[in-house]
């Protein structure tokens, strides 16, 4: 069963197509990661699932828990928008109770106490929201989205701006919700987090779907075309190696993308002639690498960008 299903959905804003003919199925109980460059249509897609935006008239349908465009499913969804906002003058406890009440829950004390404890905010329960730091209010906003134990969690960039400890707390909380049977959809720019957490990755670029599947299936499309190497005498350029299309320099480690049909052993031989090879690994591309391969501007686009910047 699918928790969310989009069938040929489009959304246009004043002549600009933000989402174009998108079809997507999110299986119930999975964690689905939405990635894509800024302005590619992630948030618009999430807002359409939330019924904040309606798809273009005549375009496809969106079903949430098999219900087509009905507000009845809203109480089963927890939503953390990209742009956060809370009633600043309310006390944290009252605010969370308001969200529980609006979702029709009658038990307040237990969930509020448990969630504040879990995200280390117990001592702030009776403080006004305006007294909290940015990170704290972000955690409160997350609690507001999940406190009614929704079956579907839609989180728009939940980790942005959080310190590593808070990120860990949130990640653990999300996984715990999944263990309880909830479906999780979240958008992120943290590729490593998406790679580690998500059962499925969906990438949207210029309003259209460019990737959709498990990490393995996505990586499978690219094969073992990536070499991670460390050659002693760091800093020397590995550009222009025969059989290598692209080099990404991480400082201590360099990632080489092989040209189609190139032989990794040949590349190793060339490298050994350049210096002592301390690390050599034949790997599949990371999500980060795949993202960049898709979203990096085409050479022609890049050139025209440079030309524009020069004329300014």
């Amino acid at each position: 069963m699918n928790a969310v299903e989009l069938v040929r959905v489009s959304k246009t804003f004043k002549g600009c197509r933000a989402v174009d003919d998108l079809t997507l199925s999110v299986p119930a109980g999975s964690i689905y990661g939405f990635i894509g460059p800024n302005g590619s249509g992630k948030t618009t897609t999430l807002r359409m699932i939330m019924r904040i935006y309606y798809p273009d008239p005549g375009s496809g349908a969106i079903r949430v828990f098999d219900e087509e465009h009905s507000a009845a499913a809203n109480h089963r969804i927890g939503y953390l928008p990209e742009e956060r906002g809370l009633y600043k003058k309310m006390k944290v406890r009252d605010l969370l109770q308001f969200f529980l009440e609006i979702h029709g829950r009658r038990e307040f004390k237990g969930p509020i106490r448990d969630w504040l404890k879990r995200l280390r905010l117990s001592e702030w329960a009776d403080k006004k929201v305006e007294a909290l730091s940015k990170g704290m209010s972000q955690r409160i906003q997350f609690i507001a989205a999940v406190i009614h134990a929704p079956d579907l969690l839609i989180l728009d960039e939940p980790f942005s701006g959080l310190d590593p400890v808070s990120t860990e707390d949130l990640r653990e909380a999300i996984l715990e919700r999944r263990r309880a049977g909830a479906t999780v959809i979240f958008s992120t720019h943290d590729m490593a987090m998406a790679e580690k957490m998500c059962d499925f990755i969906f990438m949207i670029y210029k309003g259209g779907k460019v990737l959709d599947g498990t990490m393995e299936s996505i990586q499978g499309q690219y094969g073992y075309d990536t070499l991670r190497v460390r050659v002693e005498g760091n800093g020397q350029s590995l550009g222009g190696l025969p059989g290598v299309d692209h080099v990404t320099d991480f400082g201590r480690l360099q990632e080489l993308r092989m040209a189609p049909g190139a032989d990794s052993q040949r590349v190793l031989e060339t490298l050994m002639r350049k210096g002592r090879v301390a690390h050599f690994e034949v790997a599949r591309p990371t999500l980060h690498d795949i993202f960049i391969r898709i979203a990096r501007p085409e050479p022609a686009e890049a050139q025209s960008d440079t030309a524009v910047s020069r004329t300014r």
Binding site: G85, K88, M90, I102, G104
Partner: protein
């Protein structure tokens, strides 16, 4: 009404009445409205009681003496208040001196005298002077009345106590002199000229037992000021409660709370919840002010002036007023992106709210006229004008307030529905404000 609407209404209610601003405006509003009256009452006795020196040039030769006597009478009785030890002077004495007219009444001589007296006023030796021409005693003046006018000269045109006293006294004395010259008995004529009193009464009725019930005296002042007082009270409550709705909706958009809310409830539920919360707040205020007003009326002995059925209707129409105007303010809040844009729309909105104030005098005079009926069935004016019409005896047919209520509720629902649609689409759009045509498109297409 959905449960979510109630939850939102309760939150709005609590958020509004827990603020310091709420208590301040609750207390400040009546102070602004009635403060000036109270200050005037307090300062009524705080007047300058320094003697006012006034000169009279009596060209008739017959009035000066009587006027001196009248000033003397006033200075010994009219200017005091209280009895015995608490007796104190609350008005200035008028010290009148008689200046003889020039021996030869040539225009030059008269001008010279006027100039000399004016200089004395400028120098502060005199407060005012006046010249009584001989024509004032003419019993059958042929010329225009202005020819026979007493010329009153002063450097304080706004201080009218001397002027008023003079007008009253000189008129009375001139009447007496004119009658005397016609050989008529002053006392008899004055009696004959007593004005006829017309008593303003309601209608006579029969009670349940068939007994004749005499008509009640109409209190003209009360039947005029009672509707006005209710109008002001209703306006005050609308200003305290409905106007902040605009800010509240705008704040939710600006602080990005709206997106979370829209994910939990439909825009209609959110808007309606906010509106109902505000109606709750208005009921608290009305109870507070009403209790105060009724106590004040009872304390001053005017308790009977307020018919009890009007209290119920007042509360009903107060709720309708908050719903009607609140839904208008909510629509504005939903349509704009910041307070500056809101300001541009508030002015036309205030004009709509002020309509009852432009019309109420005519409506009070003729509550049953078709103009009044139509005006009071125009939804933005209904709550105030319908109540005004009900407050004037004998009242209006019941179908009219009921039809008014239905129309107000229908327009409120339409406004809230439109505001909800604009809110949902407008809350995430940033940048320049939508054009009016775009707003209409949002409302129609959703």
């Amino acid at each position: 009404m959905t449960r979510k609407t109630i939850v939102i209404a309760v939150r709005e209610f609590k958020a509004a009445i827990r603020t310091r601003t709420f208590f301040v405006s609750l207390i400040m509003m009546p102070i602004f409205m009635f403060g000036s009256i109270a200050v005037q009452m307090l300062l009524r006795d705080k007047v300058d009681v320094k003697d006012k020196h006034v000169a009279i040039v009596d060209c008739t030769g017959k009035l000066a003496e009587s006027l001196l006597a009248e000033a003397q009478r006033r200075n010994t009785s009219d200017i005091f208040q209280g009895e015995g030890e608490s007796r104190k002077q609350v008005r200035p004495r008028f010290v009148v001196t008689v200046e003889p007219p020039p021996a030869e009444a040539t225009p030059e001589a008269l001008r010279a005298q006027t100039l000399e007296l004016s200089d004395r006023v400028r120098a502060g030796k005199l407060f005012a002077f006046f010249i009584v021409p001989p024509e004032v005693l003419d019993p059958a003046p042929k010329d225009a009345p202005s020819k026979a006018a007493v010329a009153y000269h002063s450097n304080n045109p706004t201080y009218d106590d001397v002027h008023n006293w003079l007008r009253g006294s000189i008129s009375k004395m001139a009447h007496e002199q004119r009658l005397k010259s016609l050989n008529l008995d002053t006392g008899m004529v004055m009696k004959a000229l007593t004005p006829v009193w017309v008593e303003n009464l309601g209608l006579v009725t029969r009670d349940a037992a068939g007994n004749f019930q005499a008509a009640e005296k109409t209190n003209e002042l009360a039947s005029f000021f009672l509707p006005f007082g209710m109008l002001i009270l209703m306006f005050m409550v609308v200003m305290i409660t409905a106007q902040p709705l605009l800010q509240s909706v705008l704040e939710e958009k600006m602080q990005r709370i709206a997106e979370v809310l829209v994910a939990c409830a439909s825009p209609f539920e959110i808007m309606m919840g906010k509106l109902l919360g505000t109606v709750g707040v208005s009921l608290v205020i009305v109870t507070f002010y009403f209790a105060g007003a009724l106590y004040a009326l009872k304390y001053t002995g005017f308790g009977g002036l307020f018919p009890s059925h009007l209290i119920v209707w007042f509360i009903v129409f107060q709720c309708l007023a908050v719903l009607m105007y609140g839904s208008l303010f909510i629509s504005v809040g939903a349509a704009v992106n910041d307070l500056k844009e809101a300001q541009n729309l508030i002015t036309p909105m205030m004009l709509v709210i002020m309509i009852p104030f432009f019309l109420w005098v005519n409506v009070v005079k003729e509550p049953a006229a078709s103009f009044s009926v139509i005006a009071s069935l125009f939804p933005p004016a209904t709550p105030m004008l319908m109540l005004v019409r009900m407050a004037v005896p004998p009242g209006i047919p019941l179908w009219q307030p009921i039809l008014g209520m239905v129309l107000v509720l229908a327009s409120t629902t339409a406004c809230v529905f439109a505001a909800g649609r604009v809110f949902r689409i407008g809350l995430l759009s940033q940048g320049k404000a939508p054009k009016f045509s775009e707003l209409i498109g949002w409302v129609i297409r959703g």
